[in-house]
């Protein structure tokens, strides 16, 4: 059974007098544990699709099921809880709360989930160690490099125990070395934690790490193929 099922997803919005089709006729199934990349040129609809999957934006048509839940019909408060328990997010930039340390940033989502403070702390420490940030846990984001900040975001996304992690161009602001390191971490944890990853990118280095590449163009899926991983 697929973890994520999209059926007939379309997204239209108005831009002045014009109606723009950001997405149309998107049918997609993603199985548990997949490490999939959404690729395509700028404006192809990658971010819009991720936002719809993540319940951040509503589709104009079609249905989205994640883990058996039809998120198209969820109310505002239910969507908050849905994102909290089912999803992890890694954004392109501004991923962390500036007034919280790396450790507190990772704890935040677990605290929101209602987990005990000690449990949240232990899990946060564990995941920060996994992403190689054991020595900078107490630092605030402003004292971390871009690569370190993204790794904190990955730790935060995974520590909360989501079914699916959505990453929108996670390496866009990173140099080659940091980008490769981050992708390696994401890939490793995806396998170890059996967590599904969908990330958007137009970075060939990232595509190279993906096990499945879904290509979007003008709001439509133009190809969906498995990719042989080099590692």
């Amino acid at each position: 059974m697929a973890l994520l099922t999209l059926k007939g997803i379309g997204k239209r919005y108005r831009q002045g007098e014009l109606e723009v089709n950001a997405l149309s006729d998107i049918d997609l199934e993603v199985k548990e544990g997949e490490f999939a990349a959404l690729v395509g040129p700028s404006g192809s609809g990658k971010t819009t699709l991720l936002n719809i999957i993540g319940g951040l934006d509503a589709s104009s048509e079609g249905t989205t099921h994640l883990n058996g839940i039809d998120i198209s019909g969820l109310k505002e408060a239910q969507l908050s809880n849905f994102r909290l328990f089912q999803l992890g997010f890694v954004f392109q930039s501004y991923n962390l709360v500036p007034v919280l340390s790396a450790l507190e940033n990772v704890e935040l989502v677990m605290v929101l989930q209602g987990r005990h403070k000690n449990e949240s702390r232990q899990r946060a420490q564990h995941y920060l160690e996994l992403v190689g940030l054991k020595n900078v846990m107490q630092r605030r984001p402003s004292a971390l490099s871009g690569g370190q900040q993204q790794r904190v975001a990955v730790a935060r996304a995974l520590a909360a125990g989501p079914r699916l992690v959505l990453a929108d161009e996670p390496t866009a602001n990173l140099d080659s070395e940091n980008a490769t390191a981050l992708l390696d971490i994401m890939h490793t944890l995806s396998h170890e934690e059996k967590t599904t990853f969908i990330f958007s990118t137009h970075d060939p280095r990232v595509m190279d790490r993906a096990e499945r590449i879904i290509t979007l163009q003008d709001g439509k899926i133009v190809s969906d193929e498995l990719h042989e991983h080099e590692h």
Partner: protein, 436 residues
């Protein structure tokens, strides 16, 4: 370990909410994110608060000075007198059995003093002139009015015990009658039937109180001197008739307690007990109008505070739109986001109260000890108004009621200023916020 699919989680009301400790921690840190801005806001609130405290303190200090002097110069905190006297004073309206009433009042053992007084409308004459006057027969040993006027003597001396002819007059009356110390003044009063009666008084001293009504019209004598006129009205002097008892309380805050006690004890169809506010309604009205002016000043300060807080919190909200989008994307509920921003206003308002009281309280403490000298504006005698006068050196005064009132107003206004930014923050939609 991934979370299990659980539809119940979606409707769980407790989830997506920040626990209170984290709410406070985040709010506190957010507040100090722009240290300078927060300090400037707090400073402006503290200065505004200080000015409000000073303004209210001066207002209350000057009003209380006016009230204290009015009570001392006037009829005390409480007055027991014939019913209907205040509406239409007349010499034939008196308390015939002053002795009995005096015994009843003394039996109360109230902390303060009870002064018998006889007030009469008279005509005072010298060979040079005649003027209408108010004769006040009072006890010269204890009466606070004597304590107030004795230092104001400009010539002569005060009436001594057993001096049944001695009178003290104001400078205005002395000028009109061309009288000086030692002059004889004929004091004449009309009787109820239409006849008149007269006594000869001798001027022992002349005072200058700065209160024109007193300087021009007041004649002070011993009670016995004045009692002769009541005798002419048919009073039995063995029952020590008086016009009123002026009651001075050591603790003015017990006024309403004693008023009730005395009313219950002495009031009947002929006798009434009144407090100073009922006796001097013009003074109460004047203070109310003056207070209104102070409130206008307070409102201006509050507007300054509102804009200060609104500016700080709103700026901080607008700057953090993306951050709020992130928090909402991660699963933070709208309510928690609203509470977070509101909590920032709460902390800001609590800090503002603390800093405000440090500044305002400090200013008040200084001026309550050292006073503010208004001699240059008022002159040596103070500011005369409503039959009383304000001391030229004003000591700020703040009652606990005022402290509570000011604290509540500043707290509520500061907190209310955070409502709009909090609502604005809660309205952030993640997808739009993350695009910014």
């Amino acid at each position: 370990m991934a979370a299990q699919p659980d539809h119940a989680q979606l409707d769980h009301p407790q989830k997506s909410h920040l626990p209170f400790w984290m709410l406070l921690m985040l709010a506190w840190r957010n507040l100090w994110r722009h240290r300078k801005r927060t300090i400037i806001t707090l400073s402006s609130i503290a200065i505004g608060f200080g000015l409000a405290v000073l303004s209210i303190g001066i207002g209350d200090g000057s009003h209380n000075s006016l009230i204290r002097n009015a009570i001392k110069l006037g009829e005390g905190h409480l007055t027991v007198q014939p019913r209907g006297y205040i509406e239409a004073p007349a010499n034939h309206k008196y308390l015939a059995n002053g002795l009995l009433l005096s015994e009843k009042l003394e039996a109360l053992n109230l902390p303060g003093s009870i002064e018998p007084r006889i007030s009469l409308q008279v005509l005072s004459s010298t060979p040079s002139n005649s003027v209408g006057a108010a004769l006040e027969g009072l006890s010269h040993q204890n009466d606070p009015r004597v304590d107030m006027l004795k230092p104001q003597l400009v010539t002569g001396h005060w009436i001594e015990a057993g001096d049944l002819r001695g009178i003290v007059i104001g400078e205005g009356m002395a000028r009109k009658l061309k009288a000086k110390v030692g002059s004889k003044i004929v004091v004449m009063a009309g009787k109820k039937g239409g006849d008149s009666q007269a006594q000869l008084g001798r001027v022992r001293g002349i005072f200058k109180s700065q209160v024109t009504e007193m300087d021009d019209y007041l004649i002070l004598s011993d009670t016995q001197f004045a009692q002769h006129f009541l005798e002419g009205e048919g009073a039995d002097t063995t029952k020590q008739p008086v016009t009123r008892f002026a009651i001075f309380l050591d603790h003015p805050d017990t006024l309403y307690h004693w008023k009730n006690v005395i009313k219950t004890m002495v009031e009947n169809k002929d006798v009434i007990a009144m407090d100073w506010q009922e006796m001097m309604p013009q003074l109460v009205q004047f203070i109310a109008i003056d207070d209104a002016g102070n409130y206008v000043f307070l409102i201006l300060i509050l507007i300054m505070v509102v804009f200060g807080v609104l500016n700080t919190v709103l700026m901080s909200v607008l700057e953090r739109t993306r951050e709020f989008g992130l928090l909402r994307a991660l699963g933070l509920s709208r309510r928690s986001l609203l509470m977070l921003v509101f909590c920032e206003s709460l902390i800001l308002s609590l800090l503002a109260i603390v800093v405000g009281w440090i500044v305002g309280g400090g200013i008040h403490l200084w001026f309550s000890q050292h006073g503010i000298d208004f001699t240059a504006i008022m002159g040596e005698g103070g500011n005369v108004m409503m039959g009383s006068f304000m001391d030229p050196i004003i000591y700020t005064e703040l009652s606990w009621d005022r402290v509570t009132q000011l604290t509540s107003i500043i707290f509520i206004v500061t907190l209310a200023s955070g409502i709009y930014p909090a609502i604005k923050a809660a309205r952030v939609t993640p997808v739009e916020a993350l695009r910014t």
